[in-house]
Symmetry: C2
Subunit: 346 residues, 2 copies
């Protein structure tokens, strides 16, 4: 039997290779992608389940910012069960971006199948497994086999699919030099893994904490959701994600000295986000910040803000891994969960 | 000094009067509202902070279902800090629905102010306080003074503003008889408060519970978020809301016998939602269901599904109230919070 967490650890630490593949795959398909520009649709809708729904939230915010088209995200199950709340009236077309590690998640498959049958628009698939049923269902499919993994909780796979979505947004937004910027990220990721693993471990093994909040805004909100889910799945910790300023409207009632507030800081709204972190410290919370510079985890990447989102992930994934181990749990096999979620009732 | 929770209790139990006022106010302005039809805009964007952001999520899903226009919700702070992720490129107009109990929440005020300055589209304001700064900023303003309240946590106010948004969606969607249906809700609310207060108290005083999940899909997801926030603010309980099928993608790892899963069941997707509840019971969770019939809290309202959403609220608000009291907390004055959130840093 494998050492507890050995797959998860290997997947987290090897992810920069999968980031590089993602940029390469999008670049290779950039002219086919350009033919499906978000601005030609009434809406661009990103969808997935669990982690890939959170990826969808992050990708929609970024794609809207770079293209000026209306972009949003919904869980695949909601598209399936409540299509009237997801799609505009007939005649108004949707660009659907379906994101799935396995390419065989029941809800996502069924949602895309029905979308096609009903002729609601065009489909881009982002997926790690070449033989999956979803692969054949895209007008364009971005395949990322280097992101495949053994663990239940997505780490390397998530990062690879996220980088692919950032690269697609850059293609659609005609952002000059963006793909080159993305290609500079893997060595930065390698460096951060070495530089901050000890800090991730230290926080992961901090047994004084009994709840963790992850704050992120704009394109970082979905990343905060994913960081929270990783910590929850692997370490069964009480966690919740919020937009920075939303945290002040109710949820901060939960802050105590046993609370860690993790801030995914931007450049764009740094002053406002730092003010929230300071207020939480004042209420007694412990805090951890990540960002380009002047933060506990400092990327020092030189890569433009909108392209560097993936850098928030590895250290937070490692923190979840170490917290799971310190609680005697196996990060590779979370409680109650299986790797691919299939559902009979749909 | 007032008895702990006396304001909250009075506000929860008197809310049906405020529902009736909301329908009346929207009916009185229906021709002015009809001139701002969501289908004439690139998107309809609902916004608020905390509770009213959750209201926005619920209202956007319902308004899209009834009108076929693209509708979404974002926190007001996100509109302000990340406008490029919220608004489409210039030329594509937005209908902004700004929802605020006080009408003086910093983020909402600033977001609407800037929206107007930048000429991004038209504004509908929904608010409980006639003298508030926000009131003058709407092309149409729906004023609901019967929803005003003394407590920090929104209960009656939330319900009144939610009913107003449902009524607006019905006007925009030209749903025959919808406003008449809404007028049948207040007596149903009165009856439910009497019929199920004992059950709300019993669950509220159940000290075996250490975490509560609220599940809702489609237009009920935002209501599940609000029910969760009420429980968190008033009783400092570990709670989290999810879409029904999303709960299976990771978060259900947290389920133990000390977990209560509350299901806001629909008619539309009853089979799938019940399957999730049964799976959670099988994993050991305690469960509580609300819906029109065949549920622990049964509305028996005869009102169409899309019009009856407010009926999920009072019993869950009472449950939060009783749990706060049983933990020795004052529901009127949540920990760390104040009634109107103002922020210097914006």
């Amino acid at each position: 039997m494998a050492t507890p967490g050995s797959h998860t650890y290997a997947e987290i630490t090897s992810q920069p290779v999968a980031w590089a593949e993602a940029v390469h795959q999008v670049r290779a398909q950039s002219s086919r992608l350009a033919a499906l520009a978000p601005s030609s649709y009434a809406q661009t809708l990103f969808t997935g389940c669990g982690s890939t729904y959170y990826l969808s939230l992050a990708a929609a915010a970024l794609t809207q910012a770079l293209t000026g088209a209306v972009c949003r995200a919904l869980p695949a199950s909601e598209l399936l069960l409540y299509p009237d709340s997801a799609y505009p009236a007939r005649g108004a077309r949707t660009l659907l971006i379906a994101v799935s590690r396995s390419g065989s998640t029941t809800e996502t498959l069924r949602a895309v199948e029905r979308f096609r049958q009903e002729g609601r628009g065009d489909v881009v698939v982002v997926c790690n497994y070449p033989d999956a049923a979803l692969v054949a269902m895209g007008d364009v499919t971005i395949l990322l086999p280097a992101g495949r993994e053994e663990s239940v909780a997505q780490t390397r796979s998530f990062a690879s699919m996220y980088v692919a979505c950032v690269a697609m947004a850059a293609v659609w937004g005609n952002v000059p030099g963006a793909l080159d910027s993305l290609e500079r990220l893997p060595p930065v990721g390698e460096r951060l893994l070495g530089q901050y693993e000890a800090l991730a471990r230290q926080w992961g093994e901090n047994t004084t904490l009994n709840q963790i909040f992850f704050l992120g805004s704009g394109p970082r909100y979905g990343l905060a959701c994913e960081a929270a889910l990783k910590m929850k799945e692997m370490s069964l910790t009480v966690v919740e994600p919020f937009h920075f300023l939303e945290f002040r409207h109710g949820p901060m009632s939960m802050v105590t000295p046993q609370t860690l507030v993790v801030g995914l800081l931007s450049d764009t709204a740094r002053a406002q986000e730092e003010a929230v972190m300071q207020q939480m410290a004042h209420l007694g919370a412990q805090t951890l910040t990540l960002g380009e510079n002047r933060t506990d985890v400092a990327f020092d990447s030189g890569v433009p803000e909108q392209m560097r989102g993936v850098l928030y992930l590895p250290i937070l994934q490692l923190m979840a891994y170490y917290r799971a181990l310190s609680k005697g749990l196996d990060p590779d096999r979370p409680h109650n969960l299986s790797k691919v979620i299939e559902l009979d009732v749909l």
